[in-house]
């Protein structure tokens, strides 16, 4: 429960003060006993992998999510005690991606930021106009003030969003990945401006950022979140380390220091878990696995573990196999959940099949929606080794009223080889790899190392 190291005075009313805050979505714990403070004028960056709770934390401070346990305070007031309007005078928000549907002019849009200061029947005050003009000038939008918001470029639009938040004249500014849609030049531009504002106006800034190098460069303090818990909290030079990246992100990286500023920066190498390793490995393949319903997942894992390059299809989105392939970073052909395999998906599947050095047909349940997976294989049966992995008899998983079994038989008569056990499958693939009986083919683009 200590204040941040960079906090100038502990007696001051802190813009943000969270003590033991937990948040749940239904039953899942999104944040677990998080302590966090932000001091006036401080630029704090929230970092962490996807799903670590960065956005959740910001949404708690904005009052969008109820706090299950713990105390959340904004400028000394408990969050629950603040009316929406009061809160809007304390904290402004720049979301990752603000939906703009109608097209107010830039000036009109920036004026929205003055909403919490104006009574329903009040006209715009001199202060309102001053703030709006100030925000526009500060973000170099004065000459575009009367253009439609939709006519702005991505960078300009994000500046307009920032100007809108600025016009709110709040002592605290929250940013959620404010630069994720921008190129490097505009990323730097936006963050420079935010830091400048923070310095000039004494605004406390709490920003969720993906880019750790940007974080290191701009942040006074970095707060690392991992799986809903606070992992570390401190100045970038203390927090950012090779170990942090390995532990929290699972990435191997080198930590260097900018020779001029001494700011640390990270040079990531590769992911420590399988997919990156597979991609960089020159392994045999691709081996294409036809599956569905989780039947292909163990085979895909096995292939990836052994350093094969693997592809899969045609799967349904959200299917266990599809999830696994996604996790492993494998190229695949996917259809929407429960839909019969469409022509586009089948075409994509055929592309993968065409690249395959070998095809493994997993023991998946065959229904009307994925029957095409079998029939589409027929042309390849004589071309490349096709292994019908069949630990369970085909009859027991044919839900396409005999069509599945017929397709299976047709493949077998077309030259496919039926394998009844893991050992047989392993042996077949090893033999194939060792023999390199087939001339190598161009591999599918997604499987090439980046």
């Amino acid at each position: 429960m200590t204040d941040a190291p960079s906090s100038p005075a502990t007696s001051e009313i802190l813009p943000v003060r969270l003590r033991g805050v937990s948040v749940r979505y239904d039953h899942r714990v999104a944040l677990h006993e998080v302590d966090l403070t932000v001091s006036p004028g401080e630029f704090v960056v929230l970092a962490g992998p996807n799903g670590s709770g960065k956005t959740t934390l910001l949404r708690v401070i904005l009052g969008f999510l109820p706090v299950a346990e713990g105390v959340a305070e904004l400028f000394g007031s408990r969050l629950d005690d603040l009316a929406v309007r009061e809160r809007a005078r304390l904290v402004a928000w720049v979301p990752q991606d603000e939906a703009v549907r109608d097209d107010p002019s830039v000036a009109e849009y920036v004026r929205y930021g003055r909403y919490p200061y104006r009574g329903r029947f009040e006209t715009e005050s001199a202060e309102d106009l001053r703030q709006v003009r100030g925000a526009l000038e500060e973000l170099d939008l004065a000459d575009r003030a009367h253009d439609g918001l939709l006519s702005l470029s991505g960078g300009e639009r994000q500046r307009a969003v920032l100007a809108r938040a600025l016009a709110q004249a709040t002592p605290l500014l929250l940013l959620d990945e404010p630069t994720s849609h921008l190129d490097i030049g505009h990323q730097l531009d936006i963050l420079e401006r935010v830091r400048l504002l923070s310095r000039r106006r004494g605004t406390a800034v709490l920003a969720a950022l993906h880019d750790l190098n940007l974080a290191a460069r701009f942040a006074d303090r970095v707060v690392i979140l991992s799986r809903g818990r606070k992992y570390d909290d401190g100045p970038p030079r203390d927090v950012l380390s090779e170990e942090l990246l390995a532990r929290v992100w699972g990435v191997s990286a080198d930590l260097r220091r900018d020779p001029r500023s001494g700011v640390p920066y990270l040079l990531p190498h590769h992911r420590l878990v399988e997919p990156a390793a597979v991609r960089s490995a020159p392994g045999f393949g691709p081996v294409h696995v036809v599956g569905g319903g989780g039947a292909a997942a163990p085979i895909l894992r096995w292939l990836v573990d052994r350093g094969y390059r693997a592809t899969t299809g045609a799967l349904h989105l959200l299917d266990t196999d599809a999830e696994t392939a996604q996790l492993l970073g494998l190229p695949m052909a996917v259809e929407l959940p429960f839909a019969p395999l469409g022509e586009e998906v089948r075409a994509a599947h055929r592309v993968l099949l065409g690249h395959a050095q070998a095809i493994v047909v997993a023991p998946f349940a065959i229904g009307p929606s994925n029957l095409a997976n079998l029939t589409d294989l027929e042309p390849y049966a004589g071309q490349v080794p096709v292994y019908l992995f069949n630990p369970t008899p085909i009859e027991s998983r044919d839900f396409a009223s005999g069509e599945g079994r017929r397709g299976w038989e047709k493949l077998r008569s077309g030259g496919a080889q039926e394998l009844g056990s893991w050992a047989a499958l392993e042996a077949a693939l090893h033999g194939l790899e060792a023999g390199r009986r087939l001339p190598s083919r161009p591999s599918p683009p997604a499987a090439t190392p980046t």
Binding site: A99, V100, D183
Partner: protein
């Protein structure tokens, strides 16, 4: 570096802002409204000379002090003249006023609902608020309410129906299921449920069915000064309160979260606006029956020609809606001689193609992805 970055900046998303004529269009709308209001008393199945119409209005408005012989200058007999007075003063003018009022109520409700749901297809008719009112009114015939009580029971029952539908939509909007799409689909589902219920009521109540089904097609023919008074009062209250929410609606176009971060209590405002829109719709439905598409067309005309600023859209949608319904009614009265066609036919004729165009545009814009 910044320069080269700017050069690589992808072209802005190609959504052209609609061409607008701003205040000129607003002025044009106002002038057209005045012209329409002046012309409408001349339209009807009985041909009355314009001069006589003008004299009658003047005579009545001045309490008999001006134009003491309303039919002077025409060859009308005293009996015919008093019939003319009845027609102009007690038939055409109340109808004109009711068309304006109901159109305004539907227009402003449509504008508010489109703002709340951030969907250009929201409309009291499509969301089922009108059908709810119709079902409420149909109960009049189920309960065999007497004829004299009917005139006051009808609006009350219609109001109950609309309000119940509004509340149902609101309940659906609570909690996590409250996405815009869910709400809209809830409304659409409600609307078809309500019309199915109506069909049942009508099927088993054949005597009343003729009356209800006529009433369901919509029309302003039942207007009287008294009913206009009730409608005017109710719609004045609802519209006044709705118009006050222009700024909130503007901000809410940015999404509920952003709106909340700017200080708009989005869900509270949403509830308030849906209830107010239900109330305004009910005041229209109670006296005119179900008239479709006014609430869809009016806000769009305003948005496309004048401004998309809800502080402007709300009041001008009321004007545009009133005009739209009045024009449709003038057509309904005059297209087939001796017959007043239900005005809903004309609003649907104009509105349905409009709806399809919007649907097509909307789908295209969501498919190309607007950010």
């Amino acid at each position: 570096m910044t320069a080269s970055a700017a050069a690589r900046e992808p072209a802005p998303v190609a959504i052209r802002a609609p061409r607008r004529w701003g205040w000129r269009a607003g002025l044009g709308l106002g002038l057209a409204a005045v012209g329409l209001v002046l012309l409408s008393p001349l339209v009807g199945s009985v041909a009355i000379p314009p001069q006589t119409v003008a004299q009658i209005v003047l005579h009545q408005l001045s309490g008999g002090a001006l134009a003491q012989q309303p039919c002077a200058g025409s060859s009308a007999s005293p009996t015919l003249c008093s019939a003319y007075v009845e027609i102009v003063w007690n038939e055409r003018l109340p109808v004109l006023l009711l068309a304006l009022l109901a159109g305004s109520a539907l227009g402003i409700s449509g504008a508010a609902l489109q703002g709340v749901f951030r969907n250009p297809l929201a409309d009291p008719y499509l969301l089922g608020l009108s059908s709810g009112g119709a079902l409420g009114a149909a109960f009049l015939y189920v309960f065999q309410v007497g004829e004299t009580e009917a005139s006051i029971a009808l609006p009350i029952l219609a109001f109950g129906g609309s309000l119940a539908t509004g509340i149902a939509i609101l309940v659906a909007s609570r909690g996590k299921a409250g996405s815009v799409e869910t709400l809209l689909l809830t409304g659409v589902a409600l609307a078809s449920f309500l019309s199915a219920s109506l069909s049942i009521v009508l099927l088993y109540n054949p005597i009343g069915s003729l009356q209800v089904s006529f009433w369901l097609l919509g029309g302003v023919g039942g207007a009287t000064w008294n009913r206009d008074g009730i409608a005017f009062g109710g719609i004045l209250i609802a519209s006044t309160l709705l118009v006050l929410h222009g700024r909130e609606l503007n901000v809410m176009q940015l999404g509920n979260d952003v709106a909340q971060s700017i200080g708009v209590p989005a869900s509270a405002v949403r509830q308030r606006l849906i209830l107010l829109a239900s109330f305004a719709t009910a005041m229209a439905v109670a006296f005119t029956g179900v008239i479709g598409f006014v609430g869809l067309v009016a806000p769009h005309i305003v948005r496309r020609t004048v401004s998309s600023d809800y502080r402007v859209v709300l009041p001008l949608s009321a004007v545009a809606g009133g005009m739209f319904l009045l024009a449709a009614n003038d057509l309904a009265v005059s297209v087939v001689p001796n017959t007043q066609l239900p005005v809903g036919i004309f609003t649907s004729f104009a509105g349905a193609p409009f709806f399809l165009t919007l649907l097509y545009r909307h789908r295209r814009s969501t498919m190309t992805g607007e950010t």
